[in-house]
Symmetry: C2
Subunit: 233 residues, 2 copies
Amino acid sequence: MKLLYEGKAKQIYATDDQNQIIIHYKDDATAGNGVKKGTIENKGILNNKISALIYMYLMKHGVKTHFIKELNERDQLAYKVDILPLEVICRNVIAGSAAARYKIPEGTKIDQPIYEICWKNDDLGDPLIADNHALAFKLATKEELAYIYEETDKINKLLIEFFKTMGINLIDFKLEFGRLKDGQIVLADEISPDTCRLWDSQTNEKLDKDRFRRDLGNIEEAYHEILKRLTGK
Amino acid sequence: MKLLYEGKAKQIYATDDQNQIIIHYKDDATAGNGVKKGTIENKGILNNKISALIYMYLMKHGVKTHFIKELNERDQLAYKVDILPLEVICRNVIAGSAAARYKIPEGTKIDQPIYEICWKNDDLGDPLIADNHALAFKLATKEELAYIYEETDKINKLLIEFFKTMGINLIDFKLEFGRLKDGQIVLADEISPDTCRLWDSQTNEKLDKDRFRRDLGNIEEAYHEILKRLTGK
């Protein structure tokens, strides 16, 4: 298979169909824009499964995505998209960079979710931008931005409910969107403990990549716990 | 007169009418959130005059402001407002912090203006925020934000034309808005070479506070030049 792209946690391979790609999930983990590096045993297997389950739930509820199907333990088939150079961060509770940036205690509740967009640009450190920057720098059109915010709001509501039934508070998460060949914008990239903050509803125990970022231990166990709650097994 | 507030470049005094205040313009200049300090001779006199002329032009074109009248060389009478904790930055050409933050050469033209909002918070260094932060942190209501963007767009168009007739390119500027006693949002604070980037249309010579920030010399002369072009004298 021809490697098209290698990211921090995934590889993208070409298929015989030029409109489809294979996403291969690695065990590599990075944090702080690549400053901290390591591996989390079986992370690739767990995130492949977790992300597939979340995508299938979202698609069942009408969200358009790049996902086609799981192929095996570490591989997914997906439609090829041009990823928009934006990270959409959805915050339901203040944590992580927002807590640091605004000096607000982690865990502070907010009355309404915050949707942030960051310019995916390693050289600049993925800075927060306003909608106007995205338009002026031609990162997305006005219509695409409106659609992305609408979808993010829909996905947030769906995921809050989804995780709630498993005893998990969805604190915040990151989304990426891509453009299909025909121009349609769809949800892309993974949704997993790598890209979400997931706290146990009872104990507030962190069940996500913060265990790696902050050296909290029991990292693989946390990812396993999320998969266990998703599958009920 | 009772001093109500002292800022970096101005003092605010009470008047006999509790709905009105006196704004006193000082010669003090600061840059980099107060890191660089100095004085620019006669700046208070020049900015009082310049800001009054700009406000009168905007009000003639329907912009609602806090301004009542000039009282003397350094003092203006204005309606008392609660200043919203937001700085609205309007960019027509990339310069200053945007050039640094996004590694874009100063002077780069953009197809559409960028309106940024920053949280006025010295402790945080006045960080750029998205609209959603302003709402979640209760810095302004959704309706107030919409009004502020609408007014900023109107003011930008008016000021571009105004300065153009004087051979000046309006590169970027900062606005502040305040809430009158009855809740109405109005334009407040000064508009002057302290708060705008103004480049000579022919030579691109900087006629604004960047001469102080960057030690370019002829600082007072630049402010004089702006007043000269505004008054035609």
